[in-house]
Symmetry: C2
């Protein structure tokens, strides 16, 4: 890559092979399509749709629907191509070269990439040994490193750990660093602290349509914060990044959030059931408030799953992440995994 600038020499094209048959439990997708009412309403709106016009760059209809859902002002919301785009833009907007970013580790692997793209320093903060959040570790790191930005994912991907509201407030209040709170999996937890988004000058909350709302195909995420932070994102973000079709579908989805509740509850129940079975089977598995479980397996079990066309996500040191599938998919998964149970 002759023309790639030297300060980007660690960037590499990242490609993962698309899987389109079998039981796909590797990408934290919902096993369910969105409610038929949402899909049908989308299809109806296609009849009048002007494919030949640019989408509304302000995503006004969607921002209004999100603002209404969370009881904030529409000026406190912006939308992007997944929360990924908005996170990446925030890193780039806020971070000068060599500024420091703190993040618990392991967490979503793209956070490090976003820091690299901003030429910032990415510093990892340890969880407790049982992979629960250690607020003290973060507070100490903040004091020591004086970061410009703090990245927190709760429930955390890939571990499923949940950071208490009290701890989030401690972290936000203890410095002027900008705290980015990625709540991609919050719909699967028992409480939601999105409301904090507009309470602090230094907090931005990120959410997505890709997980509980079952719309990763349309690539829409959003950020909620005080207007000045939303303005910052909009100043750096590309205009027109969210497609016209995505705007329609996402608006209909959030307006019909209640129709998703049944499927969300199924996923939560399945998660807790799977956790109990795997734990009773002697596996090292971690409590999760997301739509996945993080656990120790081994190559033999992984390969057996692949032979059965069941795909889960592999991490280093024999750690794996299993997305919660449908009831039937989870049974198929357990058929394989439980062959290796120790109890």
């Amino acid at each position: 890559m002759k023309y790639l600038k030297t300060s980007f020499n660690k960037m590499e094209p990242y490609f993962s092979k698309n899987i389109d048959e079998g039981i796909i439990l590797n990408a934290n997708e919902s096993p369910f399509n969105p409610p038929i009412e949402v899909i049908n309403s989308f299809k109806e709106s296609l009849e009048q749709f002007a494919f030949n016009r640019y989408p509304d760059m302000q995503c006004e209809m969607l921002c209004e629907a999100i603002a209404k859902h969370f009881n904030v002002l529409k000026e406190q919301v912006t939308c992007g191509v997944g929360s990924d785009e908005l996170l990446e833009v925030t890193f780039r907007a806020a971070l000068e070269v060599n500024d420091k970013v703190l993040s618990f580790s392991p967490s979503f692997s793209m956070y490090r990439v976003f820091a690299d793209l901003a030429l910032a320093k990415f510093i990892e903060v340890k969880f407790n040994d049982d992979l629960t959040f250690c607020c003290d570790n973060m507070l100490k790191a903040i004091k020591k490193e004086n970061p410009k930005l703090i990245m927190i994912c709760s429930p955390n991907n890939p571990t499923g750990a949940f950071l208490s509201e009290q701890d989030i407030i401690k972290i936000v209040e203890c410095s002027n660093a900008l705290v980015l709170l990625d709540l991609a999996y919050i719909d699967f937890a028992d409480e939601d602290y999105t409301y904090l988004a507009t309470q602090y000058d230094n907090l931005i909350v990120y959410r997505t349509f890709s997980k509980a709302l079952a719309l990763p195909s349309i690539r829409v995420g959003y950020a909620i914060s005080k207007k000045t932070n939303i303005d910052m994102i909009n100043a750096v973000k590309a205009p027109y990044s969210v497609t016209g079709l995505s705007l329609i579908l996402a608006t209909k989805a959030i307006e019909n959030y209640n129709l998703y509740e049944n499927n969300i509850n199924i996923i939560k129940n399945e998660r807790d059931k799977l956790y109990t079975i795997l734990k009773e089977g002697g596996f090292l598995v971690y409590p999760s408030k997301a739509n996945f479980l993080y656990l120790k397996l081994n190559d033999q079990i992984y390969n057996d799953l692949v032979e059965n066309k069941i795909y889960i996500r592999k991490f280093k040191n024999d750690f794996y992440r299993i997305t919660i599938g449908s009831v039937i998919e989870n049974i198929e998964l357990l058929k394989v995994v439980m062959k290796y149970a120790k109890k």
Copy 2:
């Protein structure tokens, strides 16, 4: 914007008001929806569509269709959220702080924004007085400035000027600078030099589905170049940026390019007809190989158009850009503008 980094202090949130009624001739959109065969085929594919799955991050189906259309390898193609995303990423991938970018001026206003986002120096090269391309000016500027990157838009937005193949080759061959050739409007010209994309180490061609293919709503553009340059873009670009629905529609569009030819010819004929009428009316209007005309008007004419709900694009110093509309839209436009004819 307290948290915006100081090196970005010239960035501002950019918003243009969405217009959704009247005669919209301000955004170089096609007045026609895509062919009904393309739309119907898209709608049929929705029946089996997994909204709950991430799109193919490699855009394989679409890259293959593009590669086939242009007789290149699929490894020589990458797709993004409009050519905007791919251009912005290329600037950021190739340019270190204070590297120089040369661009003819006036051209697409986002090129300067892309340079600002890369913290690069944007240097304007003049057209001839009649707004035709001046290759000599560019060759002299290359020698003087030793740029890292050269941005060329042909047919040029907003002037409509066309750079000859011979001149492009001269510019590409005269230095090692990376030449980005934006061919967003090339379908409306009489010749196409996309084939050059894979002939030079230092040339990348950008094209879009937003203009002749009448799909700005779905935000898809693509780049064609040697594999090493495509790898560079992919190394910096966000994965999964093109939505699943956009991939389907764009693939069907390029596979059915021949169905667009009639509408493209209508637009070209209307453009040439409008040009002749305006010129005969005494207006200063420039020859165009795109789907728009660049001309001098004044505030009075502009305001009269707005009162008639006809929207064109205003530039500084009484320059305006009129997108070619449908036959009826163009008649409505002329009804207003020709009231001010001098002959």
